[in-house]
């Protein structure tokens, strides 16, 4: 055993155990470290944002004289008018700016890389042949499932049409495909969460207690 002698590592280890104690029961020590965690995350975010404001706005404005940057600085400060009732409405201007920008930069990509590219990728030959001309059954079946499945899911999300007859058959197929999809998602969630848990086990038993 090589227990760490670094006080920081001890702080980390004790804090992690305190947070994990929540699994047994909510308790005061858990609450203490939870508050430390929340404070740390907000503090860290403020530091990085400060760095960005200095590098991206203040320095270019004051050193290089890029005067247009006064506008985003003013808009940025206007966000804080929401804390002063009489001028609170002014905070909508920067919010509107961000919203307009968000919409403006995403619409093109939504259409090109999501709608069009994905629709295009769904167009696969239903009969697949190898280069020597022989028929590939497995690949053909996969492709048929993929085309029908995508259509089925789209049918399921028809809202202004009652699901009856063939529409309902396609929609039901789409729903089954989605159930399997959710199952796959769950299987991966299990793997992902265990990975994270292993990371913390390695911190506690390796870095801190020196057993691993």
């Amino acid at each position: 055993m090589n227990v760490s002698t670094n006080p920081w590592v001890w702080f980390m280890g004790i804090g992690m155990l305190a947070l994990y104690s929540f699994l047994y029961k909510e308790n005061p020590i858990y609450r203490l470290f939870e508050h430390i965690y929340v404070g740390a995350s907000v503090g860290y975010a403020v530091v990085t944002a400060y760095g960005n404001i200095v590098d991206q706005a203040w320095t270019p404005l004051t050193v290089k004289g890029e005067l247009n940057l006064i506008i985003p600085i003013i808009l940025g400060l206007m966000l804080y008018t929401r804390f002063f009732k009489p001028v609170a409405w002014l905070s909508r201007w920067p919010m509107s700016y961000l919203m307009g920008l968000g919409v403006g930069i995403s619409i093109f990509g939504l259409l090109q890389s999501q709608l069009i590219a994905q629709s295009r990728a769904a167009m696969v030959p239903l009969v697949v042949k190898a280069s020597d001309g022989s028929f590939l059954l497995g690949k053909s079946i996969n492709n048929i499932i993929m085309v029908l499945g995508v259509l089925g899911v789209l049918f399921y999300f028809f809202f202004s049409v009652e699901h009856k007859g063939p529409v309902s058959k396609m929609a039901n197929f789409g729903r089954l495909i989605m159930m399997v999809t959710f199952g796959v998602a769950f299987g991966n969630v299990v793997m992902g969460r265990i990975s994270l848990l292993l990371g913390t086990i390695s911190d506690i038993f390796g870095t801190w207690l020196g057993i691993i």
């Binding site: 740390a40 403020v46 990085t48 920008l101 499945g149 899911v153 159930m179 299987g187 991966n188 969460r193």
Partner: protein, 212 residues
């Protein structure tokens, strides 16, 4: 002023930026880059909003000596510690002591604590697997079967038991899951497009806190 300006800002910024994706014009491109750059700066200012909210809530707790006010104090102290150390070390890059302190705060407090909070979910996944995942219906059974097969495909140990587990797992992931996710992604792109356009043209003002 209160109602029309925000709608106008959304429209102008959105349309100008959107146009840069279609129209070849160096001047327009410059305007688009400038508008985008302003957005980067405004977002950095927005980070401080969370900080102000936290200060308001927790300062009130402390002032009213509400139960747990000590935790509120700890939270604020941690937050300011991060902010002061972080900003000091940024402005004095030659001071290695400050840089090391900040890196310790990140590596031994913020980072392991946030990892712990997320890792805890692994335990809930385990108890939910036991309690919630029941073969109640055909759909639930499909979901479960897919989840188990994917897990077996992901775990190297299962491959030692039967070498087809990864093949099945990979088929579910790359064929069925791709189909389901693609259908959903196309639907989401269409929905996202319609919502974006509504915002751009000012039909959806709820986002701005202005009802019509």
């Amino acid at each position: 002023m209160k109602r029309s300006v925000p709608v106008l800002i959304v429209f102008l910024v959105g349309v100008l930026v959107l146009a840069t994706y279609f129209i070849e014009s160096p001047g327009l491109k410059q305007v688009g880059s400038m508008l985008n750059n302003w957005g980067v700066i405004i977002t950095a200012f927005a980070v401080g909003l969370a900080c102000v909210n936290i200060i308001r809530i927790h300062a009130a707790h402390i002032a009213n000596q509400r139960t747990g006010w000590i935790n509120s104090a700890v939270l604020l102290i941690t937050m300011f510690l991060f902010i002061i150390v972080g900003i000091y070390s940024r402005n004095n890059p030659s001071n290695e002591g400050a840089a090391e302190l900040f890196s310790n705060l990140f590596n031994y407090a913020y980072s392991p604590f946030s990892a712990t909070m997320y890792a805890m979910i692994a335990f809930y996944v385990a108890s939910a697997s036991y309690r919630a995942f029941r073969m109640r219906s055909v759909e639930a059974t499909l979901l479960l079967a897919a989840a188990i097969l994917v897990m077996l495909g992901n775990a190297p140990i299962a491959e030692q038991l039967w070498n087809q587990f990864p093949v099945i797992g990979s088929w579910l992931l790359t064929v069925i899951n791709t189909t389901g996710q693609r259908g959903i992604a196309i639907g989401v792109a269409i929905g996202g497009f319609a919502t974006s356009l509504r915002i751009l043209l000012g039909f959806d003002r709820g986002h701005l806190g202005i009802g019509d």
